[in-house]
C-alpha cells in the first residue's frame, strides 16, 4: 500500500449506503431480467436448440438413408453384374457350341468333298491307264510291224497283246507303266 500512501490515498473506502442500495436495486433488476428472460428469451433459445437438434437428427437420418440406399444399390449392381456374367457365360458356351458344330459340319463337308475328289481322281486315273494301254498296244504293234517289215494280221496281234496285257498285273503303283 506504499504507492497509495504516496499518492495521498490512504484507505479503501465504501460508500456504504450507496453500495447497499445499488446491491438491492441490482438484485431486484436481476430478478426482473431473469423473469423476463425466462418468459421471452429462453423459449426462443429452446426453440433454436430444438431446431438445431431436429436439423441434426434429420441430417443423421438422411445420412443413414443414403448409406442404406448405397448398400442396396451396390447389392443390386452386384446382382446385375452376376446375372450379366451368367448371361455372358451362357453366350460364350452357346458360341463355342455353335463354333464346334460349324467346325464339325465344315470338316464333314470337306471330307465328303475330298472323298468325292479322290473317287473322281481314281476314275480319271483308271481311264488314263486304259488309254495308255491302248496307246501302248498300238505303238507296240507299229513297232513290231516295222521290225519284221511285214504285215501281220492286225486283228490277231491285237488280241494277242490284249491277252498279254490282261495277264500282266493290274494296279496304279507306277511300276506297270515302266514295264
Amino acid at each position: 500500500m506504499v504507492f497509495l500512501a504516496e499518492g495521498g490515498i490512504g484507505a479503501l473506502g465504501f460508500n456504504l449506503p450507496s453500495l447497499i442500495a445499488q446491491f438491492i436495486n441490482f438484485t431486484i433488476l436481476l430478478i426482473l431480467v431473469g423473469w423476463a428472460s425466462k418468459r421471452f428469451l429462453f423459449p426462443l433459445l429452446d426453440e433454436r436448440r430444438k431446431r438445431i437438434q431436429e436439423g441434426l437428427e434429420a441430417s443423421e437420418e438422411a445420412k443413414k438413408r443414403l448409406a442404406q440406399t448405397e448398400t442396396e444399390t451396390a447389392a443390386e449392381l452386384e446382382k446385375a453384374r452376376q446375372e450379366g456374367q451368367g448371361l455372358i457365360g451362357q453366350a460364350q458356351q452357346m458360341s463355342a457350341r455353335i463354333q464346334e458344330e460349324a467346325r464339325q459340319t465344315a470338316r464333314a463337308e470337306g471330307e465328303t468333298l475330298l472323298e468325292r475328289a479322290r473317287s473322281e481322281i481314281q476314275l480319271e486315273r483308271d481311264a488314263a491307264i486304259a488309254d495308255l494301254r491302248r496307246e501302248f498296244a498300238d505303238l507296240t504293234i507299229t513297232a513290231a510291224e516295222r521290225v519284221i517289215r511285214r504285215s501281220l494280221d492286225r486283228k490277231a496281234h491285237q488280241e494277242l497283246i490284249e491277252e498279254v496285257l490282261a495277264e500282266a498285273p493290274q494296279g496304279g503303283d507306277g511300276k506297270d507303266g515302266q514295264t
Binding site: 450507496s18 442500495a21 445499488q22 441490482f26 433488476l29
Partner: protein, 356 residues
Amino acid sequence: MRLSRGRLIAGGLIVLAVLGFVFLRGPTPAISIKAETIQSFGPIDLTNTMLTSWIVVIIMVTIVYLRTRRRDLVPRGFQNMFEAALEAFYNLVVSVAGEKNGRRFFPVVATIFFFVLVSNWLSLFPMFSAIGLVREEEHGFVMEQADVGPLPLSWVPLSSPSRLSGDSIDEDDADAEEQLEEAKEEGKIVGELIPLLRGPNTDLNTPLALAIVSAIAVESWAIASLGIGYGRKFFNFGGMFRGLFRLNFGQFFNGAIDAFVGVLELISELVRLVSFTFRLFGNMFAGEVIILMFIFLTPLILTLPFYGLELFVGIIQAFIFAVLTLVFGMMAVAHGEAHTGDEKHKEDDGALASEA
C-alpha cells in the same frame, strides 16, 4: 381479508422504498467528468475507467476462450445464448453489407458492439461508484474509519431517522474548517472517495478511442477496396487544375466545386469522429449521473426504472456505434464504386463527344 399477491408485492416495495429513504441515503455524490486517477506511473495515469476496460477485455476474452474451447454440436445454456447473439449480429451485418463485405466488416463491428455492450452493462453492477480509494482532503465525504488487518478501511455510515443523509463538507461552506475539525475530533476521516471501477464509456477517452478505431477501419476498408484512388474523395483538385491549364472556365468552375466537396467530405469525416465520441460518452455519462443522483435521492425501488432504462440505452448505444461503423464502411466502399462509375461515365461521354 385476503391480500392478493400483487398488493403484497406493491406494499413490500413501498416499505422497501421508505426504508431505503430513511437508512440508505448517502452524502451528495461528487460527480467528475474526468476519470479519476487511481495511481500514476510516471507520465501515465492509471484511471478507474482504464481498469474497468481491462476487466471488460478479460471478461470477453475469457468468454470467447471458454465458449470456443469446447463446443457441443447441439448448443445448450450459455453456449446457446452466445451463439444466438453472435448469429443474430452476423446475420444483421450480412443483411446490410452483403456476404463479401459483411464477412470483412464483421470482426471489427462485432468487437465494437460487444465491447461497448459489456462495458455499459457491467457498469450497472453494485460495486461501481461505491467502492474506491479514499484521498484525504479538507472537504468531501465524512467517513468513519477502522483498521482491518493491514488495510485501513473507511466507509460512509448509514443514515438514520434523525439524520436523513450522509455527512459531507462542501468546499464553499463558510464553516468548512470547523466541520473538518469537528469530524477529526470524532475520529472520522474527510476526503474524496475515488471509485475503483467506473464505466469505460463514461470517460471521454474510451469513446474517442473507439471512434478512432472505427474511422481507421472504415478508411482501410475503403482503401483496400478502391486503392489509393480513394484519396480523390477528399483531395479532388484534378478538374480544377485541368481547367486552369486549358483556360476553360467551365471546367475550372466544376473542378473547384469538386475540390470544395472533397474538403467537405474530409471535414465530415472529422466531425463523424466527434459525433461518435460525444454520442456514446454523453449517453453513458448521463446514465451514470442519473443513477447516482437517484440513488442519492431515493435509494431503493424508484431507481429501478433508470436501471431498466440504462439496460436499454446500453444495448442501443452499442448497436448504434457498431451499425454506424458498418454503414459508414458500406458508404465508403460504395462511394468509391459510384465515384469510379461516374468517372467512367464521364470518360465514355468524352469519347462519344470526340467521335461525334
